[in-house]
């Protein structure tokens, strides 16, 4: 089976010491990316600590494909104990950093402990340096990039950093890379903030030599030849369809459609796009550099989920307003979904839907923890009682679009996903819209028979996160191609995904998560039966926990 190569670099931030460790057996079992981060985090992060405890560990990791020239591989993974969900969580970002990370020669980098003062960590193939950076206190992401350019001749694509939100431990702050790309969900920026790490940079000349199967060339060619509308409108292209289907939340989840969608849809984003944008090696090039000529505002995006959170859910029908929210989140370093939903909750509590100025004011206040922003920075699950609004979260993570009240299988996935209410965990909505071939489509109504289908897609998404392969390769990844690319049988590949998901769940069970946490703020027909079926399909117990022997069997397989 194809897997990443290279040792683990462990960085003790408290002692400012490093250690290199052979993790070949982990790489062989878990391929790379989320699998490796999850296996290491599961085994090494104490299960009884607060996410902001210095003993929490954070992992950067790539898969084998980050040394390749294949489209859809410009991504890499971060895993840690999430301050938002309080469970083990992984998140990945696009951009160009994965290749610079691969150039260090490490397959994964672990951060443990905490620095005494604000610090930048420079990871090179010939060693690690710790740089005290008090001048970067409160710096925006673009200011960190500018500093690294001037002082170290580094580019945005060498840098993972946090903005003010991460320093202030906003529970949905992101780790930003390549300026505008986010390790978005789960609050990993706050973990770096709690460790006093403002930035981690990666560079070197020690990229591993891995034989990538020839099928990668075919996939790359298809990406280049595709005339998908994503090349013009990115994920924003799905806005109209989502709204028509009734999966587009609006007014803090009061409705599943938004009457103002045509002011913020893919056509509007395309009208502001001024050049092509992409990630490393990717000929699909679905990114969205945009500019509003009237105001001079420039940003990258918004993507569909940002359009939902800052558009529909805030009842904003002006694309320039959503672009500004997007840019503020990128600069302050926050997940646009959780931030937009938190602001939407605030608008609901204050009867202020559609107030664009208030939206932008609250984004900045959240990042700086000023006034009511300090409360919102805790995330909806922690503040909803005080604001008197409903708790639109699962496991502390607020919902993305593709509303499960309409696409019920996606609803089951929102409920059961280990990291919370996130669409990327299984992307099951794609089978219910459908965005896949018609003969693979699933009726969005009801849950009967869907649990095994949801589980298979969870496993495939987990495999992609090990690879690391972008979700939007969906149309070009047949079972046969996956088998060729990873040089293994489909069942064995799904088994890798299953072991990743099971380790996440096992870790979270030890922190008290069980069936009660696999819940939704709305009812779905046959939900409890579907949960039973879902657990059975995974081989878990009916209370939503992993049997002890499942993890010991997994450990024995190492």
């Amino acid at each position: 089976m194809l897997h990443a190569e290279g040792p683990l670099l462990s960085i003790d931030l408290s002692r400012q010491e490093t250690e290199t460790e052979n993790i070949d057996s982990v790489l062989e079992s878990f391929i790379g990316g989320r699998g490796v981060g999850t296996k290491l985090g599961h085994d090494r992060i104490p299960t009884d600590i607060d996410p902001f405890d210095p003993e929490n560990r954070l992992y950067f990791s790539t898969g084998p494909l980050q040394i390749s020239i294949m489209s859809f591989t410009g991504r890499m993974n971060v895993t840690s104990l999430s301050p938002l969900s309080s469970g083990l969580a992984s998140t990945n970002a696009g951009g160009f950093m994965s290749r610079n990370f691969a150039d260090t020669g490490y397959s994964a980098v672990e951060l443990v402990g905490a620095c005494d003062e604000l610090t930048a960590i420079h990871v090179r193939d010939d060693g690690v340096t710790f740089e005290s950076v008090p001048a970067l206190e409160g710096a925006l992401v673009s200011e960190v990039t500018e500093y690294m350019d001037e002082e170290h001749d580094l580019e945005a694509e060498n840098i993972a950093c946090i903005g003010p939100a991460g320093e202030n431990q906003v529970r949905f702050s992101a780790i930003m890379t390549t300026e505008s790309r986010a390790f978005g969900r789960g609050g990993m920026g706050a973990v770096l903030g709690s460790k006093n790490v403002k930035a981690v940079t990666f560079a070197g000349d020690s990229r591993r030599d891995i034989d990538i199967p020839d099928i990668s060339t075919e996939i790359h060619r298809d990406a280049a030849q595709s005339d998908s509308i994503m090349k013009r409108q990115g994920t924003a292209s799905v806005t109209d369809l989502s709204n028509e289907l009734g999966t587009f939340p609006s007014r803090y989840f009061e409705d599943v459609r938004f009457e103002g969608f045509e002011g913020i849809n893919g056509d509007m984003v395309e009208s502001k796009k001024y050049k092509k944008g992409t990630c490393s090696a990717c000929a699909f090039a679905c990114k969205l550099p945009t500019k509003d000529e009237a105001t001079g505002l420039e940003t990258e995006g918004p993507e569909f989920e940002t359009i939902m959170a800052f558009g529909g859910n805030c009842a904003i029908d002006d694309i320039v307003s959503v672009m500004k929210s997007n840019e503020l989140c990128d600069e302050y370093g926050m997940d646009t979904i959780s931030c937009g939903n938190a602001v939407a909750a605030y608008l609901k509590a204050n009867d202020a839907f559609g107030d664009s100025e208030l939206v932008h004011e609250m984004v900045e206040k959240i990042a700086l923890r000023e006034g009511d922003g300090d409360l919102l920075a805790e995330g909806i699950h922690r503040f909803h009682d005080e604001l008197g609004v409903e708790d639109w979260t699962v496991k502390g993570m607020s919902f993305s679009a593709h509303d499960g009240r309409t696409v019920h299988g996606q609803g089951l996935s929102f409920a059961t996903a280990n990291r919370g209410a996130d669409h990327m965990y299984s992307t099951f909505y794609a089978w219910e819209y459908p965005l896949v071939s018609r003969d693979e489509a699933v009726d969005p109504e009801g849950l009967e028979g869907k649990a095994p289908l949801v589980v298979e897609q969870e496993q495939r998404r987990a495999l992609e996160d090990c690879g690391v392969v972008c979700r939007f390769s969906r149309g070009m990844q047949s079972v046969e191609r996956l088998e060729s690319l990873f040089m293994a049988d489909y069942e064995d590949l799904l088994d890798v995904g299953e072991r990743v998901i099971t380790l996440e769940r096992h870790f979270n069970n030890q922190r008290g998560f069980d069936r009660n946490d696999d819940d939704l703020p709305y009812e779905l027909p046959g939900f409890e039966d579907a949960l039973d079926e879902y657990y059975a399909e995974h081989g878990w117990q009916n209370d939503g926990t992993v049997p002890a022997n499942a993890v010991s069997d997994e450990a024995a397989a190492d």
């Binding site: 509308i229 409108q233 292209s237 799905v238 369809l241 028509e244 289907l245 965005l435």
Partner: protein, 100 residues
């Protein structure tokens, strides 16, 4: 009776309008209405050379995919809205069978 046809993205560009209304007989089918539209706009990419709806083209009646109703035989009632979408997020834009 009157029904509304809403077109999106590239299909909208072909027709030059967001939506069109049509007078049809009670019980007329979605397929018949769409075929009439294609004869009016031959560049409209809804049906392939075998007269099947292109894979990844989604046709909704009042927000529900016709695939889960009666397909192209889905009967229309007064004030129904048909939405027609070209391939969107994650769609390949390729005839996948030819490249698999």
């Amino acid at each position: 009776m009157e029904i509304e046809l809403k077109l999106f993205a590239t299909l909208r560009e072909t027709v030059g309008q967001k939506s069109v209304t049509r007078d049809v007989e009670e019980g007329a089918t979605v397929g018949a209405v769409l075929r009439d539209l294609v004869s009016e706009y031959p560049d409209l990419e809804i049906f392939d050379e075998t007269d099947e709806v292109y894979d990844h083209v989604n046709i909704l009646i009042n927000g529900r995919n016709i695939q889960h109703v009666d397909g192209l035989d889905t009967a229309l009632s007064a004030d129904d809205t048909i939405g027609v979408f070209p391939p969107v997020e994650g769609g390949t834009g390729l005839d996948y069978d030819s490249v698999a």
